[in-house]
Structure formats: C-alpha cells, structure tokens
Amino acid sequence: MPQASDTLEQVFRAEYGRIIATLIRASGSFDLAEEALQEAFTSAASSWERDGAPRNPGAWLTTVAHRKLLDAVRRDKTRSDKQSEIEYEKSRLQPFAEPALLDDTVVEYPDDRLRLIFTCCHPSLSREAQVALTLRTLGGLTTTEIAHAFLLPEASLAQRLVRAKQKIRLARIPYEIPSLEIIGARLMAVQAVIYLIFNEGYAASAGQSLLRNDLCAEAIRLGRVLCELLPNEPENAGLLALMLLQDSRRNARVNDRGELVTLEEQDRSLWDRQEIEEGIHLVETALARGRVGNYQIQAAIAAVHAEARTADETDWRQIVALYEELKRMTSSPVVALNHAAAVAMSEGPEKGLSLIESANANGVLENYYLFYASRADLLRRLGRSAGAVEAYERALTLTTNSVEQNYIRRRLQELTL
C-alpha cells in the first residue's frame, strides 16, 4: 500500500483544479469552494493515514468536499436569514455517493475546468490577477508559493487574489465556456496567461532557479490540461510543444557558474530528449491540421533547433522561412529582430545587421535589451569591436537579469582584452 501522505500529495497536485472547478460551479463561490476542499484534504490526511488511501482518491475527495460545502451552506442559512450570496444547487449533489461506496464504483465526475480557466483568464481581470488566480485555483499552488515564484510580498499577492475573487462575485463574471463569437479571443488570453507563467519561470536568474522551474512545470501541466480540454485547437498543441521544446534546453542554458549559455554554445547532450520528442510530435501533428498560428510557428522554429545535433548543422534557411511566416502574422518588432538574427546565420552578419537596423526603424527597440545584444553580437562577428563594445554596454544598462548581465560582461571582457 502506498504511503497515505505521498498519495495525498500526488492527488492534491493532480486533482486540485478539477475538484475545485466542480465545487465552484456547485456553490458559485471561489471562497466557499476553497474552504470546502481544504477541509476535505484535512479529513483525508487523518482518514487515509488510519484506513489507508481509497482506491479512487479523487472521487473520495470530491465527495467529501461536496459534503463540507453543503454543511457550510446550511450553516450559512441558519446563521441568519439574509439572502445567501451563494446559489447552491442541491440537485448537483445527487450524483455523488457516500465515500464508502466509491471504492467499488467508478463515478464519472463532470469536468468543469474549462469554465474555471476561462473565468480565471477573463479580460475584465488584470493580467496579474489572471495569472495569480489561474495558479491558485487551477494549479492548486498556495499563496505563499505564488508570491515566492513572482518575488512578490505575500500580502500583495493575497490582496490581488481577494480583489479578483471579489470582482468575479460582484460584477458577476460568468462561470461559463464563452460563446462561439468570443471564444477565439478568450482562448488567446488563456494561452497568453499560460505562456506568461512559463516565461516567468524560464527567464530564471540563477538564485531563484529552483522555484522558477516549478513555474515552468506548472505552465506545461496547464498546457496539457488545455490540450486535453480543447483537443481540436492546434494552437493549444503549438503552445504546449513550444514550452516543451524550450524547457528541454533548461539544463544546458545556464552553466555551473550560473552563466547564460547561448544556444550556439550549449552542450546539446544535456537537452531533454523526451521533451524534444514529444514537442516535435505535437507540433508536427498540429501543423498538419492546416490552421497555422503563432505558437505553432514558434514551436516549429524551436523544433528545427532541437533537430540539429550540433549548432553548425542548424537548418537556418528553414528557420528564416518560418520567421518570415511569423512576420506575416504579427507586426512585432521582436519577431523582426529574431528574423534578422536568423538571416545573419544563414546569409552572413552583414545582411543580418542591416535587417536589425531596419527592425528598429522607428526606434521601437530603443529600450530593448535584445536589440543591442543581437546588434553587438553581429558587430563582434564582423570584427567591428568598437561598435560591439558600445552596443554591449547599452544592452547592459537595459537588463536587470543577473544571468544576462554576466553574459554581457563576459563578452565585453573578451572584446577589451
């Protein structure tokens, strides 16, 4: 028999989002749902320790949490006759049997996570609130964990969550899957939130890398949930593929001294083959559906890198072609910058440099770290050291990330020796 506490921990991570989503639908309240689930976990801790874990732990927890929820509603009703804020629907409890019976029956629980994810990422909430709420409810991360990961005081993060939940309740943000006319835009917001969580973890400065990696893992898990819930959306697969392919390089990106290692210099034997295989498979399947999107293209670019055994073997022509496709879809100057860098690899630094300059035609990249870093890189390759030093120095003033700063300092040292 597995250790009850291990099982509980696993069930917590795996089932939290799904159970809370159901509880929120039944109670119409994020707070009541959280309390009920917390109480259910507490019950589980003592009961499973004593009697062993049930065969269907998720079902056990859901049922107990539903009972706790019903208790809370009854308490609420008897305490005062004020009109209850909650719209508890008793009928929704009926399919749930007593926990004792669950061991021998397979109960199909409704999956309400899609409603939950769309509510958490509702455009009327700030992006910060969307991220915090998604991690708290769908991911089951504690307020402390989220605050640490985002380097925020716990009180501010808690406040952010309270305000978001209050707005959902008072402004009545619907707990529904959006209608067909708006679901496209809403889904983009959901994808953006997940990718933002991933990037927050990926842009790790060495000191926090441990906590930050948790964010990457959580984002990937959320990406999987989204693929599972909306399997016919190729961009969901594109996003998951992109995250997996970027994550596959995690151990090679920073060396033992905490220094950033460029893609070109990375030890490719450290790349995670399993993540690469899954990522490539996902993006190939997604692209075959013929509904190309931003994430799919970015994933395809990452896949081309992943397929090259050495940096020299990189198929830069294909990467340039993919960036051209991306440039047609977005007018982002950052994409133009990356396109220029790829052209530099494929057709030489001179050509790349002129494209970089034109990407910054209106001064849009004037305060962008990567603009100066890429420019400096090409100037260095062209042997124009003075210009390279100047650009590296400018780049240094534009990043607060210590890993990036150290990388630039190292380059500057090489140039001024």
């Binding site: 004020k82 804020e85 009327s124 943000i173 619907p174 529904e176």
Partner: protein, 121 residues
Amino acid sequence: MKYMLLIYHDEQSWDGITEAERQQIYAEYRNLRGELESRGQFVSGSELQPVTTATTVRVRDGKEFVTDGPFAETHEQLGGYFLIEAENLDEATAIAAKIPSARTGTVEIRPLVEHAAEAAA
C-alpha cells in the same frame, strides 16, 4: 443583475462632427434603447448636458462647498448613461459594445449593489 454603463466621450470632437452625423448617432442610440426595451433590459438612460453645466458639491464639517465644473477634468467626459438589466458581465459587455460612443470614446461598466447584505459586506 443591474449594471450602470457610463458613457465617456470627447465633447469637443462631438461638437466637431456634422449635424447629419450627429443625427445618425442619435438614431443608433434610439435603436439600441428600443432593442433593450423590447428585451426588458432597459431600466433607464439619458444623455447628459455638457460638463460646462456641471456643478460639484462637497460638505465638510457641515459646510457646503459648491463649485463650478465636474468632479475631475479629464480628456473624455461623462456624456450619458444606460442603466440595464443583464445576466452577467459578458452580457453587459456585449450591450456596452453596441453603444455608438464606444467606437470613439469609452464605456465604463459598473455593477450595482443589489442586496443590503452585499452593501454591508
């Protein structure tokens, strides 16, 4: 659930358009109101006189201070409102998006406090 839709627009640009354009927009407003009324979602609504007619009152230590002008000088001014009945924020948002001034100005959506219990909370 009731929502207040506060309609902000730039009064100067409103003055700058032709009479025909203004009539066109008024017609759109009347249509929207009719549509809401037919669905039982219209509670009230009106255009407001320009901010040059606004008066602000504050009472401090029992003394009344009456001044000329709106609460705050802003680029866009409160020019009208709709009070509507909607199922949820998405429905309210869909209605707000149909307000002609949403194309040039801004519509702020504010849920009304509906129960005494919520007001106290």
